[in-house]
């Protein structure tokens, strides 16, 4: 990481892979130093020179740091430019920033990994970590919900993981046509059917905030403690250092204290319209 955390380092795009209609994964070089270690759940600030800068979660394997993966959905001026980058193009990079998933706190417990839509991207490094250190964790249950079968992110990997005997993968979509053989319904509705011990479970949840609220309700109804539910919050992060206050969430700076926060820290704030 650069000595000045506000100055982006120019790095090159090594590969670009289309994931969904408007979503691409960029593989970037780590920067001049060659290695940029990160924790599952952290994010980088990616800067398109002359356009702007956005926070993008790291979506690759933290076990290898020679390249950095970011999965980007083209929804605005910066992300559209990011998604259009080609190999050997240059992008500005600051990071990694923030607090990641509770990989150590979750050791010995059953893990409920609940992702909605693009929320699977910030959770993928956690999944890689768990699979690399599988013996450290109890049951691993991955719940994934998205809009339709065409919107399933990392579909190939989900299929691979579902074939493993030590991972339980449940996928559901909001709507589907007649050719979808899987489940239809919202992801929180998968929770009551799970047979797990809520007192021995740690939940990691990432997705649109409404999906996370409904999921938290389902987890709490199932008996999971607030302290054992972790959410990755998405807020308008600008400086990523806790200075500017753009991402302030009550007394919490999402960029510095999060983006992963336990539910007991954000309980009263999740459903507020403004704060």
């Amino acid at each position: 990481m650069s000595g000045d955390l506000m100055i982006p380092e120019p790095v090159r795009v090594l590969r670009r892979q289309q994931e969904l209609a408007t979503t691409w994964t960029l593989e970037l070089e780590s920067g001049p130093a060659g290695h940029r270690p990160f924790l599952p759940g952290q994010f980088n600030m990616l800067y398109i020179f002359g356009v702007g800068e956005v926070p993008i979660s790291l979506s690759g394997d933290a076990g290898q740091t020679e390249t950095l993966s970011h999965t980007v959905r083209a929804v605005g001026p910066v992300s559209n430019k990011l998604a259009a980058l080609k190999p050997m193009d240059t992008v500005g990079l600051r990071g990694p920033f923030g607090v990641g998933w509770p990989m150590t706190a979750g050791e010995g417990a059953d893990l409920l990994i609940v992702a909605g839509g693009l929320g699977l991207a910030p959770l993928r490094p956690a999944i890689y970590h768990v699979l690399r250190h599988r013996e450290r964790y109890g049951r691993v249950i991955l719940l994934y919900g998205t809009r339709s079968p065409d919107d399933i992110l990392y579909a190939g990997q989900l299929e691979e993981w579902s074939k493993r005997p030590d991972v339980e993968v449940h996928i559901t979509v909001d709507h589907a046509g007649g050719d979808w053989p899987g489940k239809i319904g919202v992801v929180p509705s998968l929770v009551p059917a799970l047979d797990f011990d809520p007192e021995d479970a740690v939940a990691m949840v990432c997705g649109p905030e409404i999906m996370m609220r409904f999921t938290v309700n389902a987890l709490r109804d199932a008996g999971v403690e607030d302290e054992s539910i972790y959410l990755s919050m998405e807020r308008n992060m600008k400086c990523a250092l806790g200075h500017c206050g753009h991402c302030q969430f009550g007394s919490t700076f999402v960029c510095k204290d999060g983006p992963v926060l336990s539910f007991d820290r954000v309980r009263g704030l999740l459903s507020l319209k403004e704060f």
Binding site: V54, P77, T146, R147, D174, V186, M211, F214
Partner: protein, 156 residues
């Protein structure tokens, strides 16, 4: 081999029901089987039966003129198919179709409603079992209508 009373009372929907009530509701029940593609009921039809899935998968869907039906929920082992039998005028609001071989308990809704009317304690118990299903489907519908996985509107 289990008799119908055991099958009904061990189904998650009726699990824990008082034994006397269980005998009472079993009088409305029979085993049914649906092959893949068979419809359990159609939108607008009379909600004369409710179905408790023992094994299989059922999809709920809405027909769209000129287009394939939109499927909005799948139900599985242990689930209740259909709630319109509780609410007058007892008409189904969507289609239900088996997508795998499905074995279920079909309960005569008129019979069950009459027994619930005759014994309000049973009626209240049954209603308490239906209400959580109704509310969870309402919440699911809210999420689906909100299209939460659509592109965020917030500027970058």
């Amino acid at each position: 081999m289990k008799n119908i009373a055991q099958i009904v009372c061990e189904h998650p929907f009726f699990h824990g029901l008082d034994g006397e009530f269980c005998d009472l509701v079993c009088g409305c029940a029979r085993n049914v089987r649906f092959n893949p593609g068979d419809y359990l009921f159609h939108e607008g039809g009379d909600a004369d039966y409710l179905y408790l899935i023992r094994y299989g998968q059922v999809t709920l869907e809405i027909a769209v003129p000129g287009k394939p039906s939109v499927r909005f929920q799948t139900l599985h082992d242990g689930d209740l198919v259909g709630v319109s039998w509780v609410l007058p005028p007892y008409h189904w609001a969507y289609d239900a179709r088996a997508i795998t071989l499905t074995r279920a308990i079909a309960m005569d809704a008129r019979c069950l409603r009459k027994k619930c009317d005759d014994d309000p304690v049973l009626g209240y118990d049954v209603l308490k079992r239906v209400l959580p299903i109704l509310t969870s489907r309402l919440h699911a519908t809210q999420m689906q209508i909100l299209d939460v996985y659509g592109a965020p509107e917030q500027p970058e």
